[in-house]
Point group: D2
């Protein structure tokens, strides 16, 4: 039988456990997500479209309201390079912990007269971004997103430019869910990107109770902060298409496109300094 | 411009959004996890061992305390077949949504004099079990677990029995983290499985705040319920080994084995009817 | 500068390199596939159907011919446990190297009056079975196959039996390609399994030349051997369905079902002792 | 019984089946690899080192010989963008079919007095590059390669330049196999890249027989062609490290580094027009 130092039995309090999230550990280095601010860069292929405004409104519980254009939505296919603040060397320590892909359905909304946007459904390729998203009210599931890339040194690939055709698609649990395409037509500036892109993000944070039938432990409306925003020099606009595929278990079909507005290919970077709670349902 | 039915703008309230967890939707069928009770079957290869009791105690914040054997721990490699209650046909609807694998480090603990167990670190193969685990206080990350299987019809495989050698290992983000082996020696009955296997599960549920630097939104001690427990007819015991591999980002090394107690191969089934909250830190 | 033993420069001949296939190495232990015989067990969900006989015939080059039922085909969803002969401990050494899943389209054929079967398209989950298949004339690509499983200890799962519903599906490069279902109706014996299941396998082995435009290096008709064949005690028959999904790059749609014959769920084991070459096209 | 057009039974000959490789089909569009030339772009992190020359020589069967520096080797971590000639739109049709990653061990060699290089072991992330590699004599297995990336728009990432630290690693079947790091020190020109990088590639093509114990169907020495070679403007050189991890089933440990020469980060593009056969062992 191991002899135990009796003092060891009484020394641990919750403040001795560290980590932004699970696992909470004595060392705090294995937390699935590290400390805010979180720092991002993303490359996007976004298809902006109009959906059934009633279908969008059905996702916007009071005090959220439909936005000024109550039928506006977009699907964003994206690649990400991310860091949290307290492990700034992670892209070197373990590259896999800093790269991922995702596909998201965004719609316009508003809160107390402020136009904004909300992400309704989203699939991502890794666990840390899934968890980090949950903390921000992103309803993330795992999925695989693929996006066209043209490398300028490949002798058979034309460098990206007017006329280039891009495709993104996402699949999850063996189903292709959404596919989007874009044909590049011309350059625009960041101010030309159509809303709700760029508007404040209003999200619903949720965490269930452990007690069967009880109200959720967390159910609150939040606004996500943003800092250090910068855009790529090149922002491409063009024509787009979107195909939503039926699924046995997903619910994206009510948000199916009625009309395509345009397609946009660009990169940006920003930091997430945290958010603020606007309203609590429980 | 789409003409909007003005009534659509005011009809949605939070009670119109359904789903046990994200995504909260009008239909409620795409929730990553469905309603309790949750129903499980698992096949285990478990290696029971002694670790540094101070290292274990460092994971047990008041009012949790070390258990009667403060150095006891086990690593569980397991395959799972799971359902939630409101989509009982899911193994047919989409088989992928009902099968996964995991590897976990468990240790003994106690709460107000009741001996129990707590899972300190765990890696799983899918998103729905990651999320479901988070709701139960499992600190789940994604990882790949592989476990020896002998099919009795393979002409070169000996059917499982005395002398059979089994291996489990788990890898995540490109690192093999833990490897365990077992050589089957004899059969035992469920009552012979050494504690803390079978003891009540005390877990710490945690969900961070969206506000930088704020206390977590959820930080509570819970006890997990269990119902419908049944064991496989065959429960095998034998000798075991465990190897913990160093990692750049994981913290399992403080829990490294000092002595191996034994190894166990068996299956069980149970339902999870929900849990109860024992204590709140915030 | 390293001092080199001059004899080392002249000692290596091709017979010093070992391995059944790539990589050929001095040690011969890292070969992606080991030595024959190869030993298998499989669990199947097979849907037997009729296709366009002209579409099948278009896959059967002389001296292969259509079989006695020129429109018969089946889709096989299966799980595998496999070993090669010279590393009989591999299920313990590395479990991942012995387990995989696949989905295949088989059709009837004949050679010089002997009825047989040929696998036209097939997707598998791992590299070693992809390579091993290529050596046997299976046109294997990577894909993910999922199959319904009911664990008898799960409190919400009914043990497998009459009325059980099973589904298999395969997806590759983000596309679901084929989905099949079965509802179990009754037990049968191995002799009741409809042909071409159980018939000799005639395959086309192919390996391209490195010289652009040159004939392939290998293009031969082979017959695969089988030994140690044994079936599971329980062989289930029932009703089936099949859905072929369109693809941007796959060619299974010409083999789409016209009529479903039946569905079969069973396990078997066998050894592959090698094959014989029947005909060479080059 | 289906009525069969009798002419359909006799019309198919081998020339009716199309495809560069498996599957050979009437349409020829689902071949796992398309027609030469093949077109590539790659981004490399390469660590050049000295190994045991006897270990290298043991991989070089006559008429291959050790190169002018018989101990020179390098590990290449790389990302790829590839097309085959007859499906030039594939990066749009299905982006997943044009992107992959790999890690390879290369060594110097020579043939009839011509210095060259040969890839001894290599792990790749996808099926089409695995197969295409086999046709060129690359001993490809599946593995996952991760490489540091710094996106210039991420507020916490320093743009790539002097002082940047890069890591690559490869894992397969649950084992991390090789890890390499680089710290960028200065720019160089393509001519400064140390040999054997840039030398002709001499490879051993191999395809086993289906007959147990028979000589392989293909065993030949080839030289790979190259066309349209172009380099990135920026070629970075610096210091490097390499760690080879022991494996239960891989054989890279005999090629472990004795001394690190340098590390190189650059991109290039080229076309592969086919190769020539230099020698046949069977």
């Amino acid at each position: 039988m191991t002899v135990l130092n009796p003092e060891a039995r009484t020394m641990t309090t919750m403040k001795d456990l560290k980590g932004f999230c699970y696992p909470l550990t004595p060392g705090g280095t294995s937390s699935l997500v590290g400390e805010m601010p979180w720092h991002y860069a993303a490359e996007y292929v976004n298809i902006v479209y109009r959906a059934d405004p009633a279908a969008i409104a059905a996702y916007l519980p009071e005090p959220l309201e439909p936005g000024p254009e109550p039928d506006i939505a977009y699907v964003a296919f994206s690649k990400w390079w991310a860091l949290w603040d307290n492990q700034p060397e992670m892209a070197f320590t373990n590259p896999e912990r800093t790269q991922y892909r995702e596909c998201a359905i965004w719609v316009g909304c508003s809160f107390q007269g402020t136009p904004g946007q909300i992400c309704l459904q989203i699939w991502v390729s890794n666990d840390f971004t899934l968890a980090r998203g949950w903390f921000m009210g992103f309803a993330k599931k795992l999925g695989q997103t693929y996006i066209t890339e043209y490398h300028p040194l490949n002798p058979a690939m034309h460098p990206l430019g007017v006329g280039s055709k891009l495709k993104g698609y996402v699949c999850a649990h063996g189903e292709r869910i959404i596919e989007g395409t874009m044909e590049i037509a011309h350059k625009i500036s960041p101010a030309d990107l159509p809303k709700p892109m760029g508007l404040p993000v209003f999200h619903i944070r949720h965490f269930p109770s452990i007690v069967r039938g009880a109200p959720p432990s967390v159910l609150e409306l939040v606004r996500l902060g943003v800092a250090n925003l910068r855009f790529s020099e090149e922002i491409w606009a063009g024509n787009g298409t979107l195909t939503f595929f039926p699924s046995d278990i997903e619910e994206h079909m009510t948000l199916v496109p009625r009309e395509i507005i345009g397609a946009y290919h660009f990169s940006l970077g920003y930091s997430f300094p945290g958010g603020e709670v606007l309203f609590k349902w429980v």
